[in-house]
Amino acid sequence: MAAISFIAGLNPPASSRAWCSTPHPTLPILATATGTSLRIYSLNSLTLLSTITGGHKRSIRSCAWKPGNSDTATIATGSFDASVGIWSQDEDDNEEWKFAIVLDGHESEVKSVAWSTGGNLLATCSRDKSVWIWEEVGEDDYETVAVLQEHEGDVKCVKWHPEEELLASASYDDDIRLWREDIDDWGCIAVLRGHQSTVWAIDWEPLSGRDETVGSRLVSCSDDVTIRIWKKSPGQEERQAQSRLSIIKSSSAEEWTEEAQLPKTHVRTIYSVAWSKDTHRIVSVGGDGKIVVYAEDKEASKQWQVVAVHECGHQEFEINHVAWTRAKIVGGSVQEVVVTTGDDGEVKLWAVS
């Protein structure tokens, strides 16, 4: 049984609930959404670098860093005020953040934002049951590429496939949908049914260490207190090519099935789940304040077991978000850490032995 040990909390913590913390893909910084502002922390000094405020009239629910190697960081924020903000760091003074552009379109609270791997596409979803895809067409200029409205309820989370231009979305209507661009417009190519209640979060299996033949799998967590792994049914390649030619847009060109359910550990809603690039392990957090790490049993693949549990990571408060990242903790070597964000406004780093 491995152990989850507390490394440090980023300070000063926020004074009230924090929804999520997104580490930057390359730079040692992390953004935490709390209230109507974003708090940018340094993962080296574990202290607050700057706070971005004034952009949104209501709380920010989700934020995502734009991939790409430009030295100035750019971040997108989705807020309850139904708008999406895009901010970028001032070239000369890294403390300052410029407010680049507001993407208006959603009719109600925006729940999640995600950049595609190349950084040119931005997916957003909202309680108005729609998923929007925006494309950057120029300097701080974005165009709506698709408005996808097949979900029957509030869309909670969107995530891009680590490699292909394939988008996954999880919803209040208990379903997960996959979207691809078919010739010139986007459509739903798969509906993953199985969860009994709201699906709160999803994450793709990272490229490293996956089974080539099957392609990346998907993990999802839900209010039905289960965590499920999904994979594409084999023998799909040919049919998929053939379908592209048919004039009728095939409704679900792909067939995805539930491969496994992770051992039951949580006792209340599971809000967030993340699949680690380095160790290929999965971590989940939820309303019961537990942090749970699972690992896949190498020989009998598709068999998962719990490798570590930590109760009351944020004292008696609920934990809203979890993510893996790599950080060089003060003095030590760069190692993989878990970042949790809770209702107590704290952002905590954990090491998993």
Partner: protein, 205 residues
């Protein structure tokens, strides 16, 4: 005049609502020995002797600090019964929308466990709401009012589950789903008009 959804609900008088029975208070000097008969003795006769306050009844009377009064169902009931119905100048208690038997406390995380003895216990409060009429569209607002009141009044170690009582409402399932969604509740609280309604409902508490 907007048509009132339920013009004639049944009312329970305040005196009949469940309340905490007056525990037999330990008799202290400040209690008058013979009740009414010693009402002729003015209060100044009972002021503690300033020279030895420790002997004064005040400090060792009803105030001993060790005795812990746990949060129980009655206290939860006392927090939500005075909430005002959005439609009538009446409380949820008098309309029997909330009732003591429909409130349950259950331990989600037992207080002590091996791995981390000092860690706090987590308790779940489940409140079943009985709308006055089966298709009442206000059930969601009433449920939200109950949840917001309990989340503001109870310590963070409590988890609040508010649900519509089975068989009492046509769309109970959707209402329960909404009331259980922490994110939608948080978003609703940032909506000015809804907060206005909720604040009016909670004024009486």
């Amino acid at each position: 005049m907007s048509e009132i959804l339920n013009a004639n609900p049944t009312i329970r008088s305040a005196a009949d609502l469940p309340s905490r029975r007056r525990e037999p208070t330990k008799k202290t000097k400040t209690q008058r020995p013979f009740g009414l008969l010693s009402s002729t003795i003015p209060d100044s006769a009972y002021t503690p002797d300033p020279f030895n306050p420790s002997s004064s009844p005040e400090s060792e009377g009803s105030d001993n600090d060790e005795e812990v009064e746990p949060i129980d169902e009655q206290e939860i009931y006392d927090l939500i019964a005075p909430i005002q119905d959005p439609e009538h100048p009446l409380t949820l208690g008098s309309l029997s929308v909330v009732n003591l038997p429909d409130i349950t406390l259950s331990s989600t995380l037992p207080p002590t466990s091996l791995s981390n003895p000092s860690r706090p216990a987590i308790t779940t409060v489940t409140v079943l709401v009985t709308p006055t009429i089966t298709h009442c569209s206000l059930a969601t607002v009433i449920g939200l009012g109950v949840r917001v009141r309990l989340e503001q009044a109870l310590p963070p170690r409590f988890r609040v589950d508010v649900r519509i009582k089975e068989g009492t409402h046509s769309t109970a399932e959707q209402v329960n789903r909404q009331l259980g969604d922490k994110e939608r509740v948080a978003a609703a609280l940032e909506n000015g008009t809804l907060m206005g309604v909720l604040r009016k409902m909670l004024e009486g508490c």
